[in-house]
Amino acid sequence: MNDTSLNTLVIIETNHPLYEQIAAHHETRSVEDALASFKTYDLVFDLSALRTKKKITLLKELAKTTKAEIITDLTLAWGEMVFKSCPQVTGALSLLFYSPTAAIEYSTKSEKTKQQILEFLKSIERHGVEHTDLKLGFHYPRVISMIVNEAYFALEENLATPEAIDLAMKNGVNYPLGPIEWGQKIGTKNIVDLLTEYSEITEDPRYRLSRELKMTGKNI
């Protein structure tokens, strides 16, 4: 368990990439079950993979069922907006995207929450890297999503094969993974969701999705 003195719940769906590892160490519930439960907790980790609007709706509903502090995964959501809209949220982290390392980005303004996040990460054999003053979103997901999207634009234009693109990035600029294989490990749907969210928030056309990525990552 996390801190044995705290009664902690992790809200997570069974299809989350870290579900099994987290469920082995923590009490877990799906979003639906968590909202239906009257059990009280001291601390809630919400690892639902939701974009801003649905995330805020969930967190507000959750606040009706518990007085616990909430630490939430904001990989796909607008960080500063969630913090502003949901006072019970004391910290955020980004666990949704596959990373080739064991480090996880997190953000909080409270030392107590920082320790809670670091303990939670330790329990699942991860460690934290702090992101201060979270604005639009976490650094790693936004940078890697843009790289993967561009690789899919290159595929769409028949610039090179997926294998050639991956080999070029690994051998030309020492990327730990090629962008196509990286996107597949993250899940292209997650990248589509993140860039769609950024496009809607910022209205900046730089976040336009590659058609090829959209086809791979979205069930239309």
Binding site: T101, H131, Y140, N171
Partner: protein, 287 residues
Amino acid sequence: MEIKNVVVIGTGTMGQGIAQWFLQQKVAVEMVDSNYEFALKSHAKIFENLDGLLAKGKLQSADVANFKQNIHVKHLEKINPEADLVIEAIIEDKEVKKELFKKLDEILSARSIIASNTSSFPITELAKDLSDKRKNKFLGLHFFNPATIMKLVEVINGLETDKEMSHKLYMWFNARGKVACECNDAPGFIVNRVARNFYGESLRAVETYDLEKIKEVDQVIREVGGFKMGPFELMDLIGIDVNLSVTESVYRAFFDEPRFKPHRLQKEMVDAKRFGRKSKKGFYIYE
């Protein structure tokens, strides 16, 4: 395909590395530079590098002696007209390059292949003024710095490039320890295009100059992303001016595609002459 003799034109960092790599493949090399004295210095530097590899036990003395006999500095007019392959690695100036290719087209026999090591100019455009019989023997061969160590060579087909010929070159490089990747002719090719937002999105995460935020982004990208260097550390190493210039070139070549739009922080750094490590001041201070 047999590549027995190569001419490398332009003997700066890239040209020197390319020349040394071919030499170590037992290919005869001729080095050419518009500044002959500079070519001689580059030639001497290759000798020094070979001696260094010998001292470290990475090369045999007989091989080093053979390599040294196999490389010569030449004036452009005196190069071997029967060269199998001529690689241009001069400054990134489109007009200067095109002028050089016209001269090479006249000097070289019909069988010689001409390649450009350009990092950003379209191959089809560079081939524009070549004779019709040469156009299909022209392609891009984009090496990465340092060319003796970095394995990648982008083999770039212009619209008129003979694909069978470029595929044979691709096989030739792969058989000699390089990782060759074939690609079509689009701005930035593979690497300089796909990597643009490693920098561009990181600049937008920071927005204005803030050293603490810059350190944070670098740390996250290294520790969470598993990259060897963070984007700001890498821009400082490459040169912020060089990085901005490549970004501007790709942005223009894609007719102002927003994904490649340069960021004002890059321009601000260049205006302040904070080019990175080479000026001892970039996103970080180097004293």
